[in-house]
Point group: C2
Chain length 520, copies 2
């Protein structure tokens, strides 16, 4: 019999498998897990004041660290609070090990107030699920969870931990289980796609997933240069590398109309590491499938394939002599005057530091950002993969934990910010180098845009009130200061530039409440 309890064996196994950060919001049923943290100092516990912060931070951490973090959640009601950002993580194919505490095995029958079924929630995440049964097995359960989280393409692994399995004696540490490798793409598939490209018919290449890193981007650019195919990055990449010295491949638009324009005349759509494009929402009388009529979709690599190798092989075959087209170093000039949706992105483009990580939930306010930052120093962009708002602040928090030496810039729409605003407190506690820019337009501006597209008449006062965030307009500087984050307000380009420079210069978190009128 070992001298470890279940929680200690679990945490030691996680650390042995490389999972050494745990974002958590514990309750009574997790007290032995919390206590066990002190017996395994290699595990760093990070407190979030809300589970949506916890799961979003784990997503941001893994996107940057390239390995999963753990989360600690309190029973079903704690888990539900974390589900929206697990949805985003699912759509980002982010590996994540969620430890969900549950009542002691013998206590569940009593239907105590916090009792609920956890398995259906776990299934909702489309993740891996296991309920730990015995302290002696929980190490092996944890090792399996870490592997399952990382099996391509990546997913939430949900390990339900009853309190008595956590506190029970006889815990056994398990060896790491290596995750599966990505499947290689067969030569025949590469040859077929190469033939399509050689046909001379208009073609587009759409890349996603790991192909949005430097190697995938370079291969895609070579293909585009060498064959004349258009190249696009998926609309919401989990992690996209950008900036001077890297290919600047256009992202597919959010609006169906944009995508239809981008793919005009295409006869072949080659997808690599992502799926063929569909409309984000349905609109009366408009198509949901955004592949142009008559065009054929060719799958070079699906989500589980080694898409980078496949793109490189395709480039070698279809465009052996082509060099990738790289963005030149080129920053916009600092603009002046009142902030607008057009000029605030130029301030960012002018000042973005080398190696920055951008957590982008700027929504409508950020449509012009990609142009303004294309020639900035190399940086990483993390986007809102699943559309569940409230991701930007937690993702920036987790990415700063993963990369303490990189400046993190969170571009955050005001309405979405309120979903997980307490991430600011975690940034203050952990002294994370995150600069949050609130794009404060005092509206759910994206819905004002969408109303027109759905054909709904939202001109009445009741409807308008539900899309309006004024009365009162939020003062994010006070909200941030209330959570220990220094903050300032900017209404002009000059003020914004000064605040941004100061935020980048000083360590620790900052918030800038940027008053930017709505795009529309």
């Amino acid at each position: 019999m070992s001298e470890l309890n279940g929680a200690q064996a679990l945490i030691r196994t996680l650390v042995g498998a490389g999972v050494d950060v745990c974002f958590g919001n514990p309750g009574t049923s997790e007290m032995h897990f919390v206590a066990a943290l002190d017996s395994v100092p290699q595990m760093r516990g990070v407190l979030g004041l809300y589970e949506g912060v916890v799961t979003g931070a784990a997503d941001g951490y893994a996107r940057i660290a390239g390995k999963p973090a753990a989360t600690l959640l309190h029973l079903g009601p704690g888990m539900v609070n974390g589900l929206a950002n697990m949805h985003n993580a699912r759509r980002a194919f982010t590996p994540m090990v969620n430890v969900i505490g549950d009542h002691a095995t013998y206590h569940k029958q009593y239907d105590a107030p916090l009792e609920s079924d956890i398995e259906p929630l776990s299934e909702w995440t489309r993740g891996w699920t296991r309920r730990a049964k015995h302290p002696a097995d929980v190490g092996a359960d944890a090792a399996a969870a870490v592997a399952a989280a990382q099996d391509p393409p990546g997913r939430p692994a949900n390990l339900i931990l009853p309190a008595d399995v956590s506190w029970g004696e006889g815990g056994q540490v398990a060896d790491p289980v290596p995750p599966r490798s990505r499947k290689p793409v067969g030569d025949d598939v590469i040859a077929q796609v190469a033939e399509v490209l050689a046909s001379g018919e208009p073609a587009a290449l759409l890349i996603g997933g790991p192909a949005c890193g430097p190697d995938g981007l370079r291969a895609a650019s070579r293909i585009a240069v060498g064959t004349g195919a258009k190249a696009f990055v998926e609309t919401f990449p989990a992690r996209l590398e950008r900036g001077a010295g890297l290919p600047n491949i256009e992202r597919l638009g959010y609006l169906a109309e944009q995508v239809q324009y981008q793919l005009t005349g295409i006869k072949h759509l080659i997808v690599a590491g992502t799926d063929a494009p569909v409309s984000f929402f349905a609109y009366p009388g408009k198509p949901s499938d955004l592949v142009p009529e008559g065009a054929t979709v060719h799958v070079l690599a699906d989500r589980e394939h080694d898409v980078i190798a496949a793109l490189a092989a395709l480039a070698d075959r279809s465009a052996p002599d082509a060099e990738p087209q790289l963005a030149e170093a080129n920053r916009p000039a600092l603009p002046s005057g009142d902030l607008t949706p057009q000029n605030w992105v130029e301030v960012v483009g002018a000042l973005l530091p080398e190696g920055a990580i951008i957590s982008d939930e700027s929504n409508t306010s950020g449509v012009l950002l990609p142009m303004a930052t294309a020639g900035a120093p190399q940086h990483t962009v993390l986007t809102l993969t699943g559309g569940a708002i409230g991701q930007g602040l937690p993702v920036s928090t987790g990415s700063a934990v993963a990369a303490p030496d990189r400046p993190v810039l969170n571009l955050q729409a005001d309405g979405s910010a309120m979903y997980t605003i307490s991430a600011l407190w975690t940034q203050a506690r952990e002294n994370l180098d995150v600069t949050t820019v609130i794009l404060n337009n005092a509206a759910y501006a994206i819905l004002r845009m969408e109303m027109q597209r759905t054909g709904a008449d939202l001109s009445g006062p009741a409807a308008k009130a539900l899309l309006d965030l004024s009365r009162p307009t939020m003062d994010f500087t006070k909200i941030a200061e209330g959570m220990g984050v220094p903050a300032s307000r900017a209404t002009t380009c000059e003020e914004f530039a000064e605040a941004l420079r100061r935020a980048f210069d000083e360590p620790g978190p900052h918030l800038i409440d940027a008053i930017v009128p709505p795009l529309l």
Copy 2:
């Protein structure tokens, strides 16, 4: 063919069935529902900046109004954000009609980023579920939902509304469907319980649900006075009436040890409108079932029964001549000096206005509240029924919408406040007369207490950090002001009394950040 679309028929049906408040946080798929609000001005739309605010407000509204509100939620990811407070509503047996927008029927197959399964989430609430299929039927669906929500004992009714059913033409308004009545308790049951009471063996009566109103309390008090049985109110009543002129029946404790003390020597436990007590959590070596060994449980009325009539009949039979024991008007004197867990409740007891509604999520800070307010003017207490923290602010918000003429006092633990803090913004927008008192002890104090009870050793720095809310300590005055709610800080009884008086005197929302050290 009617000239209404599905959304218009739905809203008109809701209003016809008496549901005329809709708390919502819409997205693109709900735009036609939002637009339809202007065609049915009897429906009041109230915006929440987070779904946990929306569902918690609907819970508070129904507890006070005695009828359901509707909520409007955006797809699965919007619904998950509202689930924790739906869990609390489920445990309160609160009627609630949730309209959950979904992608258009033909769009779901495309697995767009926000796509998810909604039915499993709905089942998790243990509520009623229906997916609307056609604009012509959605009125009838809505009428069925309102009835299902109110069928005893009450529950969330979840109506999934695809966007094309919402925008499609041919909507038909449906007549209200009357909910079922509560089942009468048979005379035989009353006679059996009366016999138990007449046996002379030590007995206790535990009441819950609607029995926590004036009539149930009076009947329970008569039974206790006339038979010598002890009487208790369930630990977390959804709505409890209290104060001078009403019986002051002791609540069963939160801690298993308290309950064991309260029920010492009992041979018969009579439950009426609630369940026999169980421990909130499991603790190593301690019982989960809190009925004393050897005692017999007698069910006078379950959750679906007419518990008030049953108690009255039992009182008439067992204690025909007994008068209820009513609390006398008696307020504590205003204390002075630094705030403590002992004295802040006396300030509340001294100043609580007639007819106040208390939304109580004070957790450990509020253990002495019932004593201090027993002789205050009559008031209503709403408690954290399901244990999912983050309920107090939304419930106070919804109860103020339901009772604009009653002062609402939200006693709110600091850690829990951060879950749904944006409820303050809704209070500001709607100019609701809510006074929020943050019991700011800069800690998850309840977990510090629980750690000892679970036997976990949380003395190490890593564990301590996860229970500590200082570094930085939150400044709730700034957070409130950032959302448009006037705020002040109180560290002494004098400051607290002054702030509380001012908040009660002035209309609209206020927040008091009361610095109260932890109880333990």
